[in-house]
Symmetry: C2
Subunit: 185 residues, 2 copies
DNA sequence: TTTTCATGAGACAATAGTGTCTCATTTGAA
DNA sequence: TTCAAATGAGACACTATTGTCTCATGAAAA
């Protein structure tokens, strides 16, 4: 029972950081501590430096994405349905994880490995879609991944701007992806 | 002949800023001045503050985009060809203008107006594509704009990563856009 | 009650960036 | 050559942020 009950301070800081950094990626540690309702000293007790905090946020984000995806595709067996569902469940996470796209993790081998793994999983998924005859096999997988990622981004922004609901954005994104890269008829 | 020959210092600073800020958006004014080959004091003689410099860069970027687009579509009369060519000529500008996407211009009315105008022009272009029967009229124009912008972004990144040439990325982007949002057959 | 531990408040030093200013030098034009 | 404008170098004050440290307090566990 090492981690059964959290001190709540650490979680509060992480939540405050996610909230604040998405509004202003250069928010200070003072602001974060303040929103978390803890002193700045306490923040430094849990996270030795700003870099340490950001790294924890990135790891948290990776885990949250893995969790939400794994949970959503439990009973699905076709690549097609998996790709469709992932698109839908990841859209709402943009508000929470978006700011991480602006951070540089080039010096962190641990995180780079995790990012590489996620990219590889996406790659495998896209190869699966090709096998199922949904995607044009003559299109480079690297381009397919780019489009998949950026359409997801477009969907998130569309929702953020109030142009569509998550459900609508999800449908539009999927339709655009499939028609855009699908097997020529 | 007020502006016939530039002092070159101002231009050198702007060029250095474009180069450096795309590598590191938080590069200091010292670094920028240094790369431009001028003293920090001189930089402040041309740009009263960092904000002032960034704003000039944004205005420059808008003008450069307008120029390259206007120049490319001079003799074209179909919306379809225009949309296709714009995609191609804007890809290389990503390396130069990309960092501006990370800046916040919410407090600058002048720039906000320019951005709004560019978005409106894109909107008009997409409506034109609908009229020419190239795009599905049942798809919201706001979504079409999102996809157009993000596919452009995907193409730039694809080139930046060395996955494709500009020409290949341009073809893939156009194909993906047209098939993705085109009229159902 | 006593003890232990997390915490808040705040002082502190170090660092970095910014904007201003001065002065000596250079450059180019008259 | 002479003069005026542009420049480089650098000092200066100001601000913000960060990370460390100490100390008193309050709450929970023993």
């Amino acid at each position: 029972m090492k981690n059964s009950i959290r001190p709540s301070s650490e979680d509060a800081i992480i939540e405050a950081a996610f909230t604040l950094l998405n509004k202003d990626p250069s928010a200070s540690l003072s602001q974060i501590a303040s929103l978390a309702g803890v002193g700045r000293a306490t923040l430094h007790r849990y996270f030795s430096s700003r870099e340490d905090l950001i790294k924890t946020l990135a790891q948290t984000a990776i885990r949250e994405m893995d969790d939400v995806v794994e949970n959503a595709i439990q009973d699905i067996d076709s690549y097609t349905e998996v790709a469709k569902i992932i698109l839908k469940v990841l859209i709402p996470l943009g508000d929470r994880h978006g700011f991480l796209a602006l951070e540089a993790f080039e010096h962190d081998e641990e995180l780079k490995t995790e990012f590489k793994r996620q990219k590889q999983e996406t790659s495998d998924l896209m190869e699966g879609l090709k096998e199922e005859g949904l995607l044009d096999i003559s299109i480079p997988t690297s381009w397919i991944i780019q489009v998949y990622d950026h359409i997801l981004f477009a969907a998130w922004e569309s929702v953020k701007n109030g142009e569509t609901t998550v459900s609508q954005a999800s449908d539009l994104a999927w339709r655009t992806f499939i028609n855009g890269l699908g097997k020529p008829t």
